[in-house]
Symmetry: D2
Subunit: 396 residues, 4 copies
């Protein structure tokens, strides 16, 4: 994918796509990360934004982003309408606001025929999520959900190795994600910390929605099979708050493969080490975001191997499409977001051109993945409330 025009499915684009962003103003974080990925991919210009619903913040933030004055909005509905009316209106919108607004914003832009790139978790309840699934199916719009870790080159390589049988039959899968930031009492933390623990904004879970959904998606993505059941135990171990800040879960992947998910945002001394371990009858894989270029492949009764991004490293074609720099020149999270925005651009261009993309060529997370994540959050919260009973978490 790094070389545009390399084959019929990846024709040379004629122009950069135009991206609008909702959320991301001063004091927020993830909106900027979206914009960095879009820029890095060289497939997007960020041209419009409702970066905040407070007009003065929206204006100041828009100027900081170097948006044109007439494309700085504070009302996303107005933005959807006015952008749709412009000849040079946005092709897609990135939704980077608190969770409970995702649904309404997505609907507003979908109704204008604008493709959607939404942050996760997709919504705060399953009906909203399913509504977005239905709308996407009816409109045929592209709807990506930014589980960005799935766009690391070495995560793609891991998925390809599982699919190719390098591990043999899968036996167990463990995903963990520990952070420390929520040890800061909410009153001393920023606004971003406060809305994340407010049930009115995030629904039935804090940490499970915020980082548990990443674990849920990453395990399923690499294993190529969904989580079907779970039992969960929620804890509030850090400063007092109305929702959990820690959760331990037992899960089953399709085919009754057991696994665990362990998450906490009050784990002192930890930062962003989402870590995946997949064990098969012949070998295991380990990947940790804090060393994103390394994929540990450990065959039974043989020396361990360390695969890295780049030529001569034994990596497969899916990962190779994400190689921007030679082996050893370290890539990291910005590059992963760039990869994701590149894939989304390809999908959106193809849709606009009426071209079909063969199954499996693009692997960005979709609205369906987003809905599965919401289902996961709800099931986990319900299981914990019921004392840790096993609950189904499929969409069936």
């Amino acid at each position: 994918m790094t070389q545009h025009g390399q084959d019929e499915h990846f024709p040379q684009p004629e122009r950069r796509l135009r991206l609008g962003v909702v959320g991301g103003g001063q004091g927020s974080f993830i909106g900027k990360v979206h914009a960095r990925g879009a820029r890095l991919s060289n497939r997007w210009d960020v041209v419009a934004g409702a970066l905040s619903s407070r007009p003065e913040v929206a204006r100041a933030s828009g100027r900081e982003w170097l948006l044109a004055e007439d494309r700085i909005y504070s009302d996303y509905r107005e933005m959807a309408e006015r952008e749709a009316a412009r000849a040079d209106g946005i092709d897609a919108v990135a939704i980077t606001t608190p969770n409970n607004s995702h649904h309404a914003i997505a609907v507003a832009f979908m109704e204008q025929g604008i493709d959607i790139i939404s942050d996760k978790p997709l919504t705060t309840n399953l009906p909203d999520a399913l509504d977005l699934v239905r709308r996407q199916q009816e409109t045929g719009l592209v709807f990506g959900v930014t589980y960005a870790y799935a766009a690391y080159a070495m995560v793609r390589q891991a998925r390809e190795m599982v699919r190719s049988g390098a591990l043999g039959a899968l036996q167990q899968v463990h995903v963990e994600y520990f952070q420390e930031w929520a040890l800061t009492p909410p009153k001393d933390a920023g606004a971003g910390a406060q809305w994340r623990i407010d049930p009115a904004v995030v629904g039935p879970a804090f940490t499970t929605g915020d980082i548990g959904t990443h674990c849920h998606h990453l395990g399923a993505f690499v294993c190529g099979r969904p989580v079907t059941r779970l039992r969960a135990e929620f804890h509030t171990l850090g400063p007092d708050k109305p929702l959990e800040d820690t959760a331990f879960m037992h899960v089953r992947y399709e085919g009754d493969i057991p696994g665990t998910i362990m998450i906490s945002q009050v784990a002192a001394g930890t930062h962003c080490g989402i870590r995946l371990r997949v064990f098969g009858e012949k070998a295991s894989l380990e990947w940790n975001q804090e060393e994103p270029e390394l994929l540990h492949f450990r065959p039974f009764a043989e020396p361990a191997r360390i695969l890295t991004r780049g030529e001569g490293s034994g990596i497969g074609i899916h990962a190779a499409r994400f190689v921007h720099m030679p082996r050893g020149h370290p890539e990291a999270l910005s590059d992963a977001w760039g990869n994701l925005y590149e894939e989304l651009a390809i999908a959106i261009e193809a849709r606009r051109a009426g071209r079909a993309i063969p199954e499996g060529l693009l692997e960005y997370p979709t609205v369906l993945d987003g809905a599965l994540g919401v289902r996961f959050v709800e099931a986990a919260a319900a299981s914990s409330k019921a004392g840790g009973v096993w609950l189904d978490c499929t969409l069936a």
Copy 2:
């Protein structure tokens, strides 16, 4: 402890103690490890053994160990009697046989007034374990159980830091131990692999008894508080066998502190990385046996620190007693076993001399720790069988 005679509680010994070993003959493993630890400590001579119940193996093994011909036995009862009758008879016996023989062997030697050093798990059922506890209390004999990982210098340091409050109030505790060796089909593996999966020899669990007990002890030892409850899920993921080879557990430590234990002996590409993570409100600790000299101390919102064994590393007095070589000269499992046998020698000398050792000065695992381990195994097996219900696992 490295300097004998350093104070009143550690007087200069007048002689090496005499150790007998039951088990450990050709084809076995752990008996040799015991003997290496005893030798390394310079507090013991290994002088007698019933290294096998098969006379020819016992004889060949005894010669290999350079035992005197008249102190090579194949019947441990005969050994107990004859050694007790000698003026230069053994001071203690190391029991390194399969689990279901530990109780009878311990009883035989205790009845002769010989101190006991038993491998874990202590017994295959709780009544046997409690019987040993009772006998120890009645006789006052020293009864050590070789949870040797607790004798690593940096594990002692971890325990001391928890006790001193360096982590603040404890919040969560995770212990995992993954190995790969049981991926070899039992019929192709050695005898040591075969008895370990035989319920008649090991009781209700394979992996939970073999390595789960290590996790159970290590977490409780470092945290200074027992596991009070658990819920467990057993799996047999590798080659077919009558017992579990993998288990995931949720636990509670005294004070309702939550944690997890994850164990597997069919985890391809893993070896002996028992790993402990203790999180408190102020900081966390991490230790992994495969890097035994490093203790990671990670305060909230500060740089992580790496403590190492030796002077100038900020370690406390308990760990310092186990420093045999200057910082950076790597010590490992042999040294840990040496530490354990050194502590046991001190305890046995004190008992024989009628000296009391102040509370907390020695920290070797006792018969009570062994009984708690058996309780843990039984509770885990019962919980798993009942679908993962919470069960008490104290001795109360």
Copy 3:
């Protein structure tokens, strides 16, 4: 620097600067890296390019980069003239061609009043380098040289810690950079590999110019003092070629501080691990590009500490200006290039606005650093030729 307009020296920019690129067409590598950095910084639009001197490659590459047709050039002189004549002409040019063309290209654009961003080594001989220094001093143009490793947040942090005295008086400094790619015979490698070993293109050295200059700059940058003398030993250990592929050097930093530089591009199994170790009387620092987020600070006789980018990590203000994402969200080489292009944008905006930037606020490498690098290459080659004699390598 991440927050535009944060103080008087970093006013909010009114527009993105316009960047032209010379070199970087299909088959080349570093030009794309420049462009990624420029885009990621959100301070630049890449609007023009002479990406190749071969018209058809220039055209195809320009389209791939999504340049406007009328701003795709194959002759850099034409580009300099036509861009200078446009109202919306480029503000700066990035020179990413083989070494022997840097001087002429820089002159052509400087003559049009266009600011310069040149790759390293600056030129293939000292007179050319000094000519550029003189021209820069005469014109006052911004002239940055892309020693991009100096723009990693943790390298800035290292420099700040040395300056603040955290290490005490410096005692020794070691820099190494090992790569493996030149083990591929030149005839089987790409064009980029072939010109790098051609004395007509690169001057008196291959590896010393290509990666030795990075070591030379990084050590001096972090220590805050130049290399004054060196003795070098060149080797050609890999496939036959007219220049060295390996060099070992002893150096002196200002103040007679000894150090070494070790470089090789035929070191099997190595990639991009440029590694710096600075030892002072009180502590040492270690940084390695393959783990760019970690700065190891190791005080004498205390636990080692690991500093990381982000809040709560004890990092200073210079590094903090380069923090784009919270601690633990890994940044890497793309982000470093983004940092460098951000600093260059600030410098160029200030020059254009006639604003003075206080000494020390910006730390991007300048034409003087570039000239020092050329001097270093020449001195190393001469020393090696003369059997390893000590030679001065200052510009005095």
Copy 4:
């Protein structure tokens, strides 16, 4: 070697050998390490000692070691004579005193027909070293020199891989050893620190003799070829002292293979990380004592591999002889010393029994390796004094 009696060359021993130790009393360090290795091997009883030349220290130390009263000496000459006269006299002596006494002590015991195990550096000048070589050749006594790092299982594995051609033709070899302890001013450090910097005791070098000799031996041992030439630069960077505490060297191994040796004992934050890197045309090896169980094998343009001690790890027969515990049960320096003392026991038993051991089966360092080390120290000191000229360092 772990299984005695495994073949004709390793017959089952009939008894433990008897070891005497000179040096090692209270306040010293390395003598205790010798004794730990001897004990761990189960091939030796430590039965006699002149642990100090000060009678009261000798007596206290001897009791601490649990030596019999009549075998505690303060005069090594008396010890040599009286032990030689006993029916149960020592078989070998371990010389663990300051350097300048090694020669006289070795001579005293060789004259009594006692085998020698000497610490390094062998002597303080070449004539003394060559005298010991000559005496060994005349007497046929076993004379081991305790370069113990060469007895790590993974170092043996490295040597075997080089010999087998796994790296292809060797191209460059780098050994470094950094420690921090000599940052403590000598007056504040122990006696062991003071004699090491006294030219009257150690000859022309401090650090080069103390740890440089380890680097010199390790590189030559693994590469299977001697260092033939060197140029050295000595520095005294730490507290004032009459000898160097830091040295950088360029070397040549037989066949004109270039390399470097970098050593310092005033490198803040470092401990015992002697690190070896061997690069060949096809692959490289890296080993570091602070992770002694890991051997990094990195083929060109393939994933890196991590070999570990133990079955199923792809290790060869030489290393396998040193496997005492299953893969993953960490072994370290005590085990390496145990390995070395085991090999020495085999050699001494064979000599006493008149059995020849086939070439290459035992690989313990000999008096010739010791003499090469002394030559290395002298050549390095002379080269540095002469401004870094190249000097031969063979015994030819």
